[in-house]
Symmetry: C2
Subunit: 212 residues, 2 copies
């Protein structure tokens, strides 16, 4: 089972590493880190992750994973990426995204008219790209699974592991990565965080968006 | 504020990327990916992360983060790493680990007689190295914070962000990475997972340990 994770400059590393850490444990999983050009890709907070393969080398993966990050704004206008997404999706068993990775799926036409999710701050933009945005942690419609922001990729990975390999395997992976979350606050979504915190984060994102 | 994340061959990528994704958002944070030799380090499930700096180049970080993975078994016998951990710890504001990263801290003498945690499957080994193992998600004793397995690094990062920058900042970061966990099962720790799943994972780990 070939799992292609697309990476690019200014991705959010955890978007990609969350599902990778889960899905790589599936029996027969072969994770391929793919990019338009192989080599190190500098994530938005500085870490460089290495793409080992070109898009052409992994043209028909069983599972497609598209992470998010501000770098998606460039990637979603790159015809080489959009062609790859369309063509990989045509033959994939599962096509997935984390965070604003769904903007790339939408730009490629994969989410046209489909219910999907993204980072809470980008739901409107997802709608403008032709999807029907939902404020949910994971949205599965047919073979397309989209996840909410950043850390939601871990939940998405486990959900997908369950679909692919059953409950026991997904539970074993969850236990292996000791995913028994204990965040110090209950502030992980805009409906739960204090209003002023939501505004703070929203304006910080708007500034980064404006910086391009 | 300089944050050094130690990486090495066969680390578990999420151990490092969890705290990175949180701590890199702190004001004035400068994350440095350090290793004995700079360059790409292949994680235990195949992803290559790049170390930009040598240990010498980041000799006195404010925050030390040591991730885990089976690669710790080699690293904890490397005097260059142990010397660096000891010397960095002597001047750090915070010294932290995720998963079996605490075995490296213990091997360096940082945890002698101290309560600490690690991946649930390695608590005994942590005790043999002179620490007093606790089955908790995060253990803070003075300036030393150790976290449980893999995904616990996200919780540790948020806990540390709270210590460094206060509640509002930690909440903003949590919201930014949309950390509102919804695992499909409640199987993330050995006390919660079905017994047969615990045994399955324990024997899979024993096999990987034996493979070296």
């Amino acid at each position: 089972m070939e799992i292609a994770i697309l990476i690019f400059r200014r991705l959010t590393a955890l978007d990609a590493v969350g599902p990778y850490e889960v899905l790589s444990k599936l029996p027969e999983a072969k994770v391929r880190w793919v990019a338009v050009e192989p080599g190190p890709k500098r994530a938005d907070a500085g870490l460089a992750l290495v793409a080992d393969h070109t898009l052409e080398q992994v043209a028909h993966p069983d599972v497609v994973v598209v992470p998010g990050g501000f770098g998606t704004r460039t990637v979603m206008r790159d015809p080489r990426v959009l062609d790859w997404v369309r063509s990989a999706h045509a033959t994939s068993t599962w096509t997935t995204s984390v965070c604003t990775g769904s903007l790339v799926l939408a730009a490629a036409g994969v989410l046209r008219g489909l219910e999907a999710t993204t980072h809470w701050n980008s739901l409107e933009m997802l709608g403008e790209l032709g999807a029907r945005p939902l404020s949910e942690r994971i949205v599965r419609r047919g073979k397309v699974i989209t996840a909410a922001g950043v850390s939601a990729g871990i939940d998405m990975g486990l959900h997908l592991a369950q679909q692919i390999a059953g409950d026991a395997m997904a539970q074993a992976i969850q236990l292996g990565i000791e995913y028994d979350p204990e965040p110090p606050f209950d502030a992980g979504s805009p409906g739960k965080a204090p209003k002023e915190i939501v505004e703070l984060v929203r304006s910080a994102f708007a500034q980064r968006e404006a910086e391009g």
